[in-house]
Assembly symmetry: C2
């Protein structure tokens, strides 16, 4: 995929997020894209993202699903409003609720694929389900409710 | 508190976890303690653990609750079995399910207090509820189900 990721369209003052901000040099800098009606993100954990030896840290897996879904929410809201993701007012979402089920251990050292489906868009709320897979095997499932950030919070 | 934290009792080969391993130099190295029947952990996020400017990244908050609860599970299992947390066989837990509700934004730059209560211990499973608070105000609630790691996985 050569197109720009959702996160590449965030304005600079909203690009500091540890999970997805392109300007956070310490962060994960995940990139999310449309793939039909789903969204997809690939990420290869670093060697120190370990839990018990050989397996990926669960907090990282939760973070990947969380940030991929807030990006998905922004992209889905833009699609629903038939406008560009970087048009004004800014479409930036935060997580209200995050539910993660760890189905089996996720091995360290391979590329992970995170996919999200939007199940509901209503007002400022976007509801999504997500999977995280290793070479086609789903190891983690997630459910995320994201809420659009009020403009007055962004203006602070 | 001057006593050793739960995490300080993990054997070296189980002390690599990104969230709580004392030997993971890149990680969070959280420390959890008993406080009566609750457990408590304090952590001050780093400046780059940001979400939208001025607020803490939700993935970090989920990670703190996750790791504090797996440590709590080990300590609670030791108490339930009336043995030391570092006695054999090792008491090491992983997360099966993590549910996080973000009640309000968590400001960056102050110390966070994470507290957990054990609500059920049954077989290899420990169920906990958790809160994360800033200066007495709860900003995040969590529910965690942790499962004791089978010895054959630890031996790999």
């Amino acid at each position: 995929m050569t197109e720009r990721a959702f996160q590449d369209f965030y304005p600079d003052d909203l690009a500091q997020c540890y999970g997805c901000g392109t300007l956070n040099e310490h962060g994960l800098q995940i990139k999310s894209y449309w793939d039909g009606d789903q969204t997809v993100c690939h990420y290869t954990p670093r060697p120190y993202h370990t839990a018990v030896p050989g397996y990926v840290y669960g907090g990282l897996l939760a973070s990947l699903i969380d940030c991929h879904c807030t990006g998905t929410a922004a992209a889905a809201a833009a699609r629903a409003e038939d406008r560009a993701i970087d048009s004004d007012p800014p479409l930036r979402f935060v997580t209200a609720s995050l539910k993660i089920d760890y189905l089996k251990p996720t091995p360290l050292g391979v590329r992970l694929e995170i996919r999200a489906n939007v199940t509901e868009i209503k007002g400022r709320k976007v509801v999504m389900t997500a999977t995280l897979a290793v070479e086609g095997t789903v190891t983690v499932r997630g459910e995320v409710i994201a809420i659009r950030v009020p403009e007055d919070l962004l203006a602070e």
